[in-house]
Symmetry: C2
Subunit: 232 residues, 2 copies
C-alpha cells in the first residue's frame, strides 16, 4: 500500500506538528497511528519521508527525513488558462489537469463566457481540488489556481497558444519549449477580436483535431497529449 | 451556427420520417422548423445534408441528400476496454472518449473491480451518452458500448495494450497500427495474474507517466495522447 501523503507547508527535517483540517483528516478519515510511514510534501515541489510519532484528534506529530525534490514533476511547465465554465466543470478540469501534471490554472473571463464571476468560495474549492488531486497523483507540487481575470487583461510570460478550430497547427505539430500557456475558450469559443488580439501578442493558434471537444474536455486533452508526447 | 445533427438509422437520400424521442427532442428542445437545415447521420459513419420539410410533435419529416462518409473519424480504430467504475464515472469516460474519437467501449469486470455488474439500465445510459457525445462532437459514427465481460474471458482482434505502472513502454513509444484495444483497470489496478495472462496473449504493457491517474482519467488521457500523436 502507498504511504499517505500529508501537506506540510515549509516541510523540513525533524519534528513537525500538523493541526487543523489536515490533522483531522489524517486521524478521522485515514486513521493514521503512531509508527506509520507517511510522505510529507510542501506543495511547492519538495517532499520528505516520515513517520507518525503521535496522532490525536486535531494534532499529529511527524518525524521527517531531509526534504528532496519530488520525482514526478513534468519538465514542461504547462499553464492551462481556461474560460469559466458552468457548474462544477472547472473543478473537473483542475482535478484531471492536476493528475496529468499541469503546473498552473488561470481561470479566464472571455467575451462569450456564460459565467462572468469566480466567487472566492468557488476559487477556494478549486484550490482544494488541486491539493487533493496532487496527493492522489503523488505530486509534491500543488498547481496554483489564480483568481479569474479577463482575457483582455491577460498576460503571460513564455510561449502562449490558444485552442481555435480555425487554426492550422495541430497538437502534434506545436513546438513546445519548457514553459507554455494554453488558452481554451468557453462553449461559444473565442471571439474573432480575442483571436486577433492573441495573434498580435504572438500566440499560436492550435487546432485540436476534426472533432468538436466540449470546453471542459479540450484543456484535459491538451495536457494529456502535450505531456505524453514529451514522455513527461 | 452549426446545423443540428439528427440520428437517422439507415440514412438514405430522399424523404425520411423521424418519430419517437428523436422527433420529440427536435421539436420540443431544439424547436426545428420547416425549411431549417440539418445533418442526418446513421451512427455507423454515414451522414447526409438535409432540410426539415415538416415538424410536428412526435413526427419530423426530412428531405436528405445522398449520404457520404463523415469526415471527422480517426484513422486509428481505438477501443477502450475500461474496468467498471463506481457511480457515473464510466459515463464520463464514454462522453470524453467519444468526443476524442474512440470507436468502441468495452466495460470490463476485473479482479479488483469494486463494481461487479453493469445493469441493462446503466448500459442503456452509456449508449445514450455515446449518441449525444457523437452528435455534439460532429461524428457520424456512434461508438459501440458493449455489455460488460470479465477480463478472464476477454478476447480482442488486433493489437492490445494494457495500462500498468510497472510497464516500460510509454504512450509516446507505443507503436500503433490502425486498430488498437487499450485495457485500463479499476482503482486497485490489475492483478499480477491478470497482467500475466495479458502478457501471455501478447499484449503490451503501457505506462502512463510518473503521476498516478485515477481510473477514469487514464482511458481519456490514452485516447487524447494516441489520437493527437497521429494528427488523427
Amino acid at each position: 500500500m502507498r504511504s499517505h501523503r500529508v501537506l506540510v507547508p515549509g516541510v523540513a527535517a525533524g519534528e513537525q506538528v500538523i493541526s487543523g483540517s489536515e490533522a483531522t483528516h489524517l486521524v478521522r478519515v485515514l486513521r493514521v497511528k503512531a509508527g506509520q510511514q507517511v510522505v510529507a510534501f510542501d506543495g511547492k515541489g519538495l517532499e520528505a519521508l516520515g513517520q507518525v510519532v503521535d496522532a490525536s484528534d486535531g494534532r499529529v506529530v511527524l518525524h521527517l527525513a531531509d526534504p528532496v525534490p519530488g520525482e514526478v514533476e513534468a519538465s514542461l511547465r504547462l499553464t492551462l488558462a481556461v474560460a469559466l465554465l458552468k457548474g462544477d466543470r472547472l473543478a473537473d478540469v483542475v482535478r484531471q489537469g492536476t493528475e496529468l501534471g499541469v503546473a498552473r490554472f488561470r481561470p479566464l473571463i472571455t467575451r462569450y463566457s456564460d459565467v462572468r464571476v469566480l466567487s472566492q468560495a468557488k476559487l477556494d474549492r478549486l484550490r482544494r481540488v488541486a491539493r487533493e488531486a496532487s496527493k492522489q497523483s503523488g505530486r509534491a507540487l500543488v498547481p496554483e489556481v489564480d483568481a479569474a481575470v479577463t482575457l483582455d487583461s491577460f498576460d503571460a510570460a513564455g510561449a502562449v497558444a490558444y485552442a481555435d478550430p480555425r487554426a492550422a497547427t495541430t497538437l502534434a505539430e506545436l513546438v513546445v519549449t519548457d514553459s507554455l500557456t494554453v488558452i481554451t475558450g468557453p462553449e461559444g469559443g473565442l471571439s474573432l477580436e480575442e483571436v486577433g488580439r492573441l495573434e498580435a501578442l504572438g500566440a499560436t493558434g492550435l487546432q485540436l483535431g476534426r472533432r468538436i471537444l466540449r470546453a471542459e474536455t479540450a484543456p484535459v486533452a491538451i495536457a494529456a497529449a502535450l505531456l505524453a508526447a514529451r514522455g513527461d
